[in-house]
Symmetry: C2
Subunit: 261 residues, 2 copies
Amino acid sequence: MRLLDERQLARAPPFCRLDPHQLRRVRDLAQARNAAIGTVVFDEGQPALRFHLILSGHVRLVRMTAEGEQIIVLHVAAGQIFGLGAPLGRATRQETAITADDCQLLSWPTALWQVFSDDYASFAKETMRSLGARADEMSNRIVELSTKLVEQRIACALLRMIGQSGRKVAGGIEIGFPISRQNIADMTGTTLHTVSRVLSAWEKRGLILSTRCHVVVSDPHGMVMIASGAARPDQPATAARRSARKAASSIPYSAQASITV
Amino acid sequence: MRLLDERQLARAPPFCRLDPHQLRRVRDLAQARNAAIGTVVFDEGQPALRFHLILSGHVRLVRMTAEGEQIIVLHVAAGQIFGLGAPLGRATRQETAITADDCQLLSWPTALWQVFSDDYASFAKETMRSLGARADEMSNRIVELSTKLVEQRIACALLRMIGQSGRKVAGGIEIGFPISRQNIADMTGTTLHTVSRVLSAWEKRGLILSTRCHVVVSDPHGMVMIASGAARPDQPATAARRSARKAASSIPYSAQASITV
DNA sequence: CGAAGGTTTGAACAACCTCAACCAATGTGG
DNA sequence: CCACATTGGTTGAGGTTGTTCAAACCTTCG
């Protein structure tokens, strides 16, 4: 079991540069846990005592509003670290972490994050890289939510998921964990009704194949078209939504203002 | 000039624990720059060669879409660092940085980030903390964009700005830098027309005072009411928008699932 | 003073949410 | 193994929010 874990640990980006001896040390300090689908790993508001690594499976980071709505902020895939609140200066969890499928998890006390960072340069580097990637993803989500229509946002969400956790299957690329219409709605800021309508339409057009909690994208290119706002049936191919004020987009700012730094 | 910079530097969170000698070293490695309002500090797509600190003023981090729309991702206030793409593993800028008012800026080559982090523990800690705070802010924005009505989102944006850069004036709390309706629209994913209508209505109700590029919140508490979705004139005080499915929100997940970690 | 940028406001329309009802798949207990 | 509950999915009708279009106004600044 430990040996097995070590071998998987060696494939996780934050630890893949460590030698066998270092891996053993890291593994021995970890607490292992198998969590069935739907298990809550930690909950919004709790003290952030440990950080986690996914050996296999997927975890959703979720926030809930006072009105009882869920918003899926991020998906974390195998090989990745999550729950780094403490090193980022948060004493308590801001999100709830729920397994999206059956998971093997390791966790360490937050104090070890500093130790690992000091001892293994690649660990520090890799966690920073991962924080950066997530900041990018959130930033992209903000742009999408601000500018895109629901159909485009759903397309973006599917593309993001097949990019992060897609696996090739017969009819296309499948999202590698169970995902319901409600889940997709929670990612895109819409309702399951709208998601259902959109996916049904896409299935008729041959863009996807879908069964219960299960989506295969059979025409990724067509999906990109939809996500980008091209392939709009009626509209003239102009702005997807808000009036592209001035439309001076093509000239970067730098061409106008003197940039020095 | 250098001396003046050093004194201001000593007040910036990332450097406030340094002794005078260290401060001088940091200052001597920096490039100083005064940037008038509307100056582009760096542009989306450029290589990330330096990181920056605001001595005074405010900087907007902006992203543009293919259709020419701007989205304001974050505001950065005096004393804060920005442009940390490189340590986060990004070779090129993902956002454009534009000064929101007249700014005094310092910048350093990205290579020094590692050096400062190694040499000054408080610097490393503080930059992590700041990354965490921004991740929180983005996460909050995602929740707002996903669940709140336009009026609530605008209220949230105003509250966030007075929280970060508000100053007390005669009639209430003023946002500490110039801000147009269009800017607010770019923050909330709406149009300047809608922002204008909402602010006009608020001004009539005595919640704010506003002139060109200039907003004073005179009733912060009322603003919080609006932001949270209370104070809705017609609706019964239930869910602000999407149907609060199951509304099991009050019981934290942890009460249902065994949480161990 | 004219131009440019910011703001206001009305009217029409589109997107999408809400309500409502129903169906299909899966799981459960007798 | 079947009745039944549960969960996820589908689909139509109607209503609300907020965008789009259009036009005018005001302020600031060269």
